[in-house]
Amino acid sequence: MTEKSNFEPTIIGFTCNWCSYRAADLAGIARIQYPANIRLVRLMCSGRLDPTFVLKAFAEGADGVMITGCHPGECHYLEQNYKALRRYLLLRRTLVAMGIEAERLHLAWASAAEGIQLAREITEMVERVRVLGPLNWHLNGDQVQITHDATAELEVVA
């Protein structure tokens, strides 16, 4: 059995306006409880996810990042979630190269009807990151600074 630590991670979750954000609304309406460690950002589509956003979240102190979007084949904008998938796969590799555990970034599909599933994904994510421990990436380096207009330099991963 795994020991549960007292560490409370902070997770940033990116949601799609059409599916996963509504799934979060649905979880609320149905009063499905999940850990408060997650904080959500609404985008119009998971395809809008700029890899910089993820790096920014880690740099500002997030211990984990979740990307959520419509199930493959169900994108509101036809196929943009596939682009999110591609970026996610690349990002995982990039993170490992930067010394961050790949498990700190997680991709989950959730349709507007899947409040329960989204809550479960969030709960599992929080537990995973809890086991990994704090990231503390922002503490040990002034070298990582992502400013509002420095996105261009980090675009290479797209």
Partner: protein, 664 residues
Amino acid sequence: MNTPKERIGVYICHCGTNISAVVDVEDVAQWAANKLEHKGVVIARDHKFMCSSLGQELVENDIKELGLTRVVVAACSPHLHEKTFRTACERAGLNPYLCELVSIREQVSWVHSDKVVATQKSKAIVSSGVERLIYHEALEQLSVPINPATLVVGGGIAGIQATLELADAGSPVYLVEREPSIGGHMAQFDKTFPTLDCSACILTPKMVDVGIHPNITLLTWAEVEQVNGYVGNFDVTVRQKARKVITDLCTGCGICIEKCPKNVLDDIYEVGMNYRKAVYTPFPQAVPNYPVMDLDNCIYFDTGKCKACEKFCPTNAIDFEQEDEMLKFQVGNIILATGFDLFDARKMSNYGYGRLENVFNSLEFERMCNASGPTEGEIVLRDGVTTPKAVGIIHCVGSRDKSHNAYCSSICCMQSLKFAHLVEERTGAHVYNFYIDIRTPGKGYDEFYNRIVEEGTHFVRGKVAEVTNAARQPDEKKKLIIQVEDTLIGKQRRIPVDMVILSAGLEPRHDAKEVAKLFGISCSADGWYIEKHPKLDPVATMTDGVYIAGCVQGPKDIPASIAQGAAAAARVQGKIQQGEMLMEPIRASIIEEQCSGCRICNDLCPYNAILYHDATMTSEINAALCQGCGTCIAACPAGAVIGTSYSNEQVLAQIEGLLMDVSV
């Protein structure tokens, strides 16, 4: 520290106690006033109901009196009240897009219970709203013209009603139906509850109206193949399947049908209870009345010989060379009314459907009751001659059952009561209704239930365990035995009957998922199409310009289907009358000077909204085609693509806000 540019107002909603029971809203407001002052927060208040007129006035007054330039409201989901607060800002003279609604109800108070943690998370969310808002721009809504034509998919009663409403209002309508005739399930029924009026008598006049209406283009034996575009301007491609009958020449005389030598079991209209020909109209009152040819069963297409239909056709309307045709047209709005499938009762093997011959499903029984059905309205056993002396009707078959469909199919109780009446009336047989709960919430419905009780129908409260032909007692021999716990007695009973009718539930169409994908809308976990809001917007969908009506949205009876058909038509007609539509200004654009012409974005756009100009060697976004997904913004290596409402600056600032240290 720099003096902040903006003057920001922050408003925290109690939502009665929905939020304040878990979040210390006063603390959040006070914290925002103190800790976010350097960001420009000049006032932070909490209020019992921000969405009330008092709450809105609070915002309006502060804008006027304190000169607010930005407003953050922390309350429910923006999908509910974003518009409310934007409108309030607009009334006070502030551009509506300078208002941000952040959710601390759905995302905090409803899903967490620890007050300290929930309050901290609320602070982080408020801070993210403030950070983001600083980068908001004043925006104007976009306007798109609305094509006055409408596509209605599905010619059942909901689709027929929607079509007629629109056509009568003077708008052109394309009605596309997969089968040879419109009419849908209602055309299969004999009587309708609770009034017991004849289904055909009330339906056929409407069908005829559709057939002759000058504003309606009726496309039966046709399926939608492709849909492109967006609200106001959809490009639709419909496959008109080859009828092998030239409709301009056909008079509907029916000689071809009479002469066709091939009998085919009719699985659709007659639900496998009767035969049709290989060239056929599904039923005599079909609209349109031109036959279609069933190529899988036509003798000529199988052996190369026959052509009886062609030989006898008096107007030379048979054309064996006819091919499928692709029809393309444009519409401004779409109404989906594709209906339901019946639950396949063979999946519940304990009821014996498909194995025990005198077990019927509800549609089979409807056909049997119908005067134009296989028995001409006589209620008999599968042998076609014997009148049953005892009949059992089982409710909730495949419904309210987590192994099949967890939902209540809503129509089965009333339908079963109707069946009980018809059996009683036409055969005098003993009728047993087996139910879990009798659900009759409708005008005149419970009165109908009482009427059936008075007629002497036996009601047994219990979900039937099994239907068997294995007799234990002499009086069970050659009968079907219904084994059930009579839960009002608490004892197991075995009731021998001659006939069992399964009130099978309603299911989404077997291809509902693919059709949803085609029109860019989504299905619930059960497979029904999701409405925009379950209470406030039951016929719109999340996709602008696509509406739903009838059972495609969930099980419902005829009155409710008709109401939804009319409601969807009213929504569409409203849009048509406006002539143009205002849309959220969430769009991408390209800064020409920064574009290097790499063309990475060009292929990413699913709407082909990005054009490359050879002359300038840069790309440009067509704002009318752009739908605002933002994929190109995320992908541009030069940062040349920018987007309104979800700019990099806004999102990055929001992340900073969310991760702000709120513990101090």
